[in-house]
Symmetry: C2
Subunit: 758 residues, 2 copies
């Protein structure tokens, strides 16, 4: 405890600055600091290289022999490193392709190659086992012929634009480009608008030659690179589609495929821009709006006509076994308080950067912690290292495990710390914002190998430079301003979904962090393709495994500090401040919606859309927006005000009384704070998607991965569901009040400490 | 006079609205309205078609036989239409190409085609006389070999970016794409940075396949389309490079070529994207920043290396005759008050949309006015119709004529009204802002043929729709808000340069307007190419010559009202309001510069640029910005306040007393207001470019065509020339005070009217 508090002071830039200015020497290293130095010394980039080389040597998707072999290999390593490890197997619906056809029928016959040719000198050329072809898992088999329509990213606003252009997709096959929102929304929204098939392609503007040279000359997506992926509807629930809310154990009660609401209802296929060009250049109809145009050397038309395509997908809809590796090291003092650390091990093909870059960092941490344990050190709390399977299928390994052990996890978990992909670059971190200060404390203690300043300082510098870019959003400018003040913590982002933290944070309410480095090495161009290989990673993403090792040092510190701290790790004021900002954003959004509706109403009455329209182009005025009612935010205003007050009282009390607590008081305090974040995830969950319990953090229903804070409120406003706003405010305010109540209990414990001033 | 005042009331939306609401009938048509109806009836789209067909039938650039023939043809028509017309000939330096070579030497030999192949069924295939090849007139002949560097648009900020990338252009040949600022700045800035040659190409992102289908399938620039143009340095002076400030008459005193400061000092050539691709894809070095990338199917690298090119241009630097056609119709009441109307007749090749679309509108006006005159109507003021030559060379015909007749023009000209290109679409209008209300009055009286509302209302609707676009600038939103209020006039843009109004407005201080329709028909893709043909215009730009005829109706009304109004045409309050806004913008700009400098200074001291930089990429911190001093704006504040007050007093007095003035008072008033705008163009002119006299309106030194209002002040701030700001404020304030003084004299005349209330 003491160590952590000391470290937290030493960790601020201000302290270091003052110390330097006064010419004082650094404080003597604490126990914590000595432990972390030992830990660092045990992280060997060559280990990471060796592990990645073997793990990425063959395709390792769900159901592949190498996926199972990797799980067993990882199990063996954990055991070698003094962990109590086992494999937990789940049984999931996982279709694999038998036959895929995509061809242009009209105006000229063309058969899509659907192939990623091997690249000499690269794993893509030498692996023995065939990889999965370009495939979207959980699309619906079918054999359809239809006219093509280009729908840009295929997001909600794109369909609004299409409506204004007078183009419908009913009975059509849509062509969407990757980007703009989560992949699975593309076939989902297409089907909802009446489309019978969905083609998703990678435009060179987004991750191809327009970004950098293409592989193998550079890192970006080559002509025939294909992005695979899952299209399971995460807006409803992630995990095995047949077992929502429960673990997919062998004897679990399962839905039928027909009952599984998270499955897409039309056939879909991913293709390369090499293949896409022929389909797109065959389209006529309106020219695509400027923001819809990619960088293929063609004029982007929306269609329909004259292009007609034939799309057929047939899959084997069998069950597959998946293999989560779970490794435990019991805590010496608080064995029933768990710090959980996870990263998945399954990839789409070889999966070097995604997920093995994060996986080998995790392994390095586990090996180092094991070595420390062999040397006599033991964590106070129990540490659980997890290597998930089937993340790519839609977070299945982690979700099924979390669902299976929900009660115990809610009772015992202090924090879940996740990573996934990793690259040379800058610290990226999101998570429960009451853990923001912990992250900042670690970030000042880890040195960036390129700049020789701390990863926190480098992140701050990058934010400040980014804010100078022409057109930088106001949010970035505000963050940069904050980042320029070393006395203040940098912000961490709220989390949505898209990696294995989702079941912990969104479903169980367990506080979570997600970390990685990114921004210099670049794996966007091989993402989910056959070219995400060991060779690509070592040439373009993290040569020398420097940043993969840095991830291990960063996350390892979080794990060690979380495991050894006697005092709770949250600083609730940071959470309260973030919520205060979010509430202001929600109010501004409402105001903006009102102004939009009023402006549009006046324009419709003035016939401004018809008058401005080019009569040679089809165009209809937008559908009238509903009028925006007055909204009573007072329940949320009160809840946020209360939270700020409670948080300040707690933070002040912790700083003052924390170090003086008796063992019994400490135990009482920890037990209150251990599950306080779960108050944010009431059992009723979010309206309309009750698997998502957390009413503060959720992925957006129409963004997929990105977070919406206070999602019920924000999305009711965004979607103009005025009837839902009042209830959304109520459930959100209630959750915040519950958090404040529990926090007040913790403050009472702190103020009951023996030497408290009264 | 009475007619105009009546029309001006009838013209406001409010009046019409009130009339409609009360169920009153429209007022009986005024004399003016009857005249304009007759005028409209004389505008025949088929005339315009026939004239364009013959004028655009052969290449008509300066020095071509067809250019001279067109001038004589136009002269003949004017004479047929009862105008007193003549050709005024000037003698200008006008180099034409003898030999052009551009080839890639390394890494693979490639010879640029430099050709625009003919298109079957198009004038480009059938014209007998060879067109000018791709050529930049007033480039400097030379024969150079050098490494290539891609410089994006080749503007000032692009060279700052290059510096940060650690890439210099000394001894290199730069490749710039068209766009981002005026063409001539590209070789000029390249030479200033030490480059030895300049290639300018048209990127498909800007006017090629990424915008729409390419000609002949669609309107946009085809694979081998080339944009010709002049690179004479208009930031110094337009017109014949050898006769700055004086007319290029046969016996004018001329500079030697070596003395002509407006000539570029390095060889330069324009090429197509078909040719450019090979050069660009041979470059390595840093990947171009995101905003630098076009849509060729390549990765845009900046260079240098390995691409080395050979560029050679040799020209015939002879003198050429140019032919301005001047047609006069004397005024019956005020023969020494001139309303001048102009449009150029020379094109780069066939010049259908540029300039003949505007030229045929002008001819239609002239024919209709002539017909009215034959029918017994005579303008009160003298009308001068002008058809300029050598505009494409750099506004030469109009500039030499304005310089030759400067004294008389300053004495007699009420207004100069210009047009140039024209297309189907929305009214575009810029000019002296004290004439804004006149434009608004006309705009409500002309009906848009597509929407059947007035061209003013359509312009307003278009602005309102544009303001809904994501990311619409605040300026557009403010204009749209104004446009939504029918009680308020829409704004007209200030003018910079780029067409024949420049000598009138910028050099002589004569108030000017520039009008055209644009936004639906699209000639960007054939701009200055061999494909700007009659066929292209009639298929894609203005089928049926509907909007070319509409331009005639719009400008014709301006000419008729300006010629027949007894009262002055200005409404100075509009000018004062615009100046007030401009002053606020200048102050904000200064504040922003100060904040930028402070932020950058702190970042440099914190080494934020180095810390954030990717060490595998060359990058240097930006050069430190000079600190921003406090600036005393009070002289301008006072001048604007005074102007607003004087303007209001004048406008009120005019409305009240104008109709009551005696003939002598009217003459006195007109003589004061005729040259009041010239107070804005003191003889000293702008610091550093004294050809530009107007201290309120000028083209930006680093934008080329776009206007800078209060240019001395704005550009001193933009360029961080803090030492120049005080003097700039002084000369600008003095000019405004002179305007106010003269306005007060006019108000005194008004208030001296016989029945004035005292």
């Amino acid at each position: 405890m003491r160590n952590l508090v000391l470290a937290s002071i030493a960790a601020t830039g201000i302290f270091l600055f003052v110390a330097a200015a006064l010419g004082t020497s650094s404080p003597a290293p604490s126990d914590e600091s000595r432990l972390e130095q030992k830990f660092d010394a045990l992280i060997a980039p060559n280990d990471l290289r060796d592990w990645m080389k073997v793990l990425a040597s063959e395709p390792n998707h769900v159901g592949s022999p190498h996926d199972k072999a990797n799980a067993e290999r990882i199990l063996g390593w954990f055991r070698d490193w003094a962990w109590d490890a086992h494999i937990e197997t789940f049984y999931i619906l996982y279709p694999t392709p038998i036959k895929e056809t995509l061809e242009l029928v009209t105006p000229k016959p063309f058969k899509a190659t659907l192939q990623e040719p091997p690249i000499p000198g690269d794993s893509s050329a030498t692996a023995r086992e065939p990889a999965l072809p370009g495939y979207l898992v959980y699309q619906s088999d079918g054999d359809v012929i239809g006219g093509l329509v280009y729908v840009n990213y295929g997001m909600k606003d794109d369909y609004e634009t299409l409506e204004r252009l007078g183009v419908g997709v009913k009975g059509k096959i849509v062509v969407a480009r990757y980007g703009g929102g989560w992949r699975g929304l593309k076939p989902k929204l297409a089907a909802e608008h009446g489309a019978i098939g969905c083609i998703i392609y990678s435009d060179p503007a987004n991750d191809g030659y327009s970004i950098d040279d293409v592989y193998p000359e550079g890192p970006m997506r080559p002509y025939h690179g294909i992005q695979r992926g899952s299209v399971l509807d995460i807006s409803l629930y992630p995990g095995d589609p047949l077992t929502p809310g429960i673990g997919a154990t062998k004897d679990a009660k399962r839905l039928s495929i027909a009952e599984a609401k998270s499955l897409v209802r039309i056939p879909a296929i991913p293709i390369s821009y090499g293949d896409a060009k022929t389909f797109l250049e065959s389209l006529q109809g309106p020219v695509a709006p400027p923001s819809w145009r990619g960088t293929l050397p063609i004029t982007y038309h929306v269609g329909p006509g004259p292009a007609v395509a034939h799309l057929a997908v047939r899959s084997n809809w069998g069950m597959k076994e998946i293999y989560d590796v779970i490794a435990t090291m019991n805590g010496s003092t608080y064995p029933d308080q768990w710090v959980i650390r996870g990263n998945h091990h399954d990839g789409w093909v070889f999966g070097a950067s995604d997920p093995l870059a994060g996986q080998v960092a995790l392994l390095a941490e586990a090996k180092a912690i094991g070595t420390l344990a062999k040397g006599g050190w033991h964590p106070k709390r129990t540490i659980v290292y997890t290597s998930w399977d089937a993340e790519e299928a839609m977070l299945i390994g982690s979700t099924e495990w979390a669902e299976t052990h929900a009660a115990e996890l809610k009772q015992k978990t202090v924090i879940y710390i996740n990573s996934d992909t990793n690259a040379r670059g800058y610290l990226q971190v999101g998570g429960s914002q009451d853990f923001q200060h912990l992250v900042n404390q670690v970030a000042v203690d880890v040195t960036d190998p390129e700049s020789q300043v701390s990863i926190g300082e480098r992140r701050r510098a990058k934010l400040r430079v980014a804010a100078l870019e022409p057109g930088a959003p106001e949010r970035v400018k505000a963050e940069a301003k904050l980042a320029a003040d070393p006395a203040k913590d940098f912000l961490i982002e709220p989390l949505g979904s898209g990696s294995d933290f989702s079941a912990f944070l969104d479903h169980l309410g367990i506080p979570s962090l997600d970390l990685g480095f990114a921004g210099e090495g670049d794996f966007r161009g091989v993402y989910h393709s056959r070219y995400d290989t060991f060779e690509h990673h070592t040439r373009f993403v993290d040569p020398g495994f420097v940043y993969d090792a840095l991830l291990a040092k960063t996350v390892g510190r979080l794990v060690l500090r979380a495991a050894d701290s006697d005092l709770p790790l949250q600083r609730p004021s940071d959470f309260a401040d973030a919520l205060g900002e979010d509430l202001e954003v929600a109010k501004k959004l409402l105001k903006q919606k009102r102004e939009e509706a009023e402006t549009q109403d006046k324009m419709l009455r003035d016939h401004a859309f018809q008058v401005a329209a080019d009569p040679t182009k089809s165009s209809t005025p937008p559908a009238p927006m509903s009028a925006v009612p007055q909204v009573n935010f007072s329940a949320l205003d009160n809840a946020v005000t209360r939270l700020k007050k409670s948080a300040k009282a707690y933070d002040d009390a912790l700083a003052k009384q924390g170090p003086k607590l008796s063992g019994a008081q400490l135990a009482r305090l920890d037990s209150i704070m251990l599950n306080i974040d779960q108050t944010l995830a009431p059992d009723a969950g979010l309206p309309g998607r009750t698997w998502y319990k957390n009413v503060i953090y959720a992925p957006g229903r129409f963004t997929g991965y990105d977070a919406k804070t206070m999602p019920a409120v924000t999305e009711a406003i965004e979607d103009r569901q005025w009837g839902d706003v009042d209830r959304a405010i109520k459930i959100t305010a209630e959750a915040l009040d519950a958090y404040s109540n529990q926090l007040d209990q913790a403050t009472a414990v702190l103020n009951g400490a023996p030497t408290a001033n009264r």
